[in-house]
Symmetry: C2
Subunit: 129 residues, 2 copies
Amino acid sequence: MYQRKIPIDYNCGLGIAMEVIGSKWKFCILDAVSKGIQRPKDLAQAINGITRRVLHQQVGELEMHGILGKTIYTEVPLRVEYHLTATGKTLLPLIEALNTWGLEFSPHLRAILEGGSSVKALQTEEAIM
Amino acid sequence: MYQRKIPIDYNCGLGIAMEVIGSKWKFCILDAVSKGIQRPKDLAQAINGITRRVLHQQVGELEMHGILGKTIYTEVPLRVEYHLTATGKTLLPLIEALNTWGLEFSPHLRAILEGGSSVKALQTEEAIM
DNA sequence: TCAGTCAGTGATAAATTTATCACTATGGCG
DNA sequence: CGCCATAGTGATAAATTTATCACTGACTGA
């Protein structure tokens, strides 16, 4: 794994949370696992846009951080399943809340980024006094 | 601002949320602003480790996304204040929750990353069946 | 004029995260 | 053996985010 050069601030809860779950795919992975999708192959199919390589990287970090657990069944063909640990389960409400917020905010972001001339309500509030 | 090459998925709430608040400093900035620290200079002092340049970048994005509003007082010396918009305020509970979670998780992360030989409870659960 | 405060910008480098592509390894099965 | 499916790794490039450093600009007051 990548060896950090800038140290983590263990006193900033937000920083810690970001370190553990703040990446492009981790939320999605946890969400999928919580819904019963447990095998790498299925995860890769279920999560739109992720590649096997990246999935492994992210899952590996989640496992290392104690958010996901891994079970290897020595069947043929090989079967591997990931599951949320107790710690991992404490994240679910946060994920759900963030997802909900994001979906609500989505149209605004789209309007802002795509030069929405229609939606102006939430646009930059800038005032000169 | 940086021009994305990989497009955003507007259907993934988590992705949207990450786009808007998922960065090293944004949470901290919002937290500070919500506590009444509103001027750039004060924010730069209050947030440990951030530089003026980066602060401006991040604040600018938050403003563009409609999370922060900006008021310019044409006094001397110039005074600028940022404040949470209505949308921004909807983020506060999430920030609080993430911060709390992070602080609770902090010791585990530290133990894991710093080769903790003492704390083993939450370590990788890997089983072979 | 010169230093001092405050807010901000431009160019660029460094750090970090994600993505690509080509591989290895195990075992079943025709 | 050759080919399938599964899970995984190594090397490296590309994308993205953060950091550095030197600036501009407006204004005050000595």
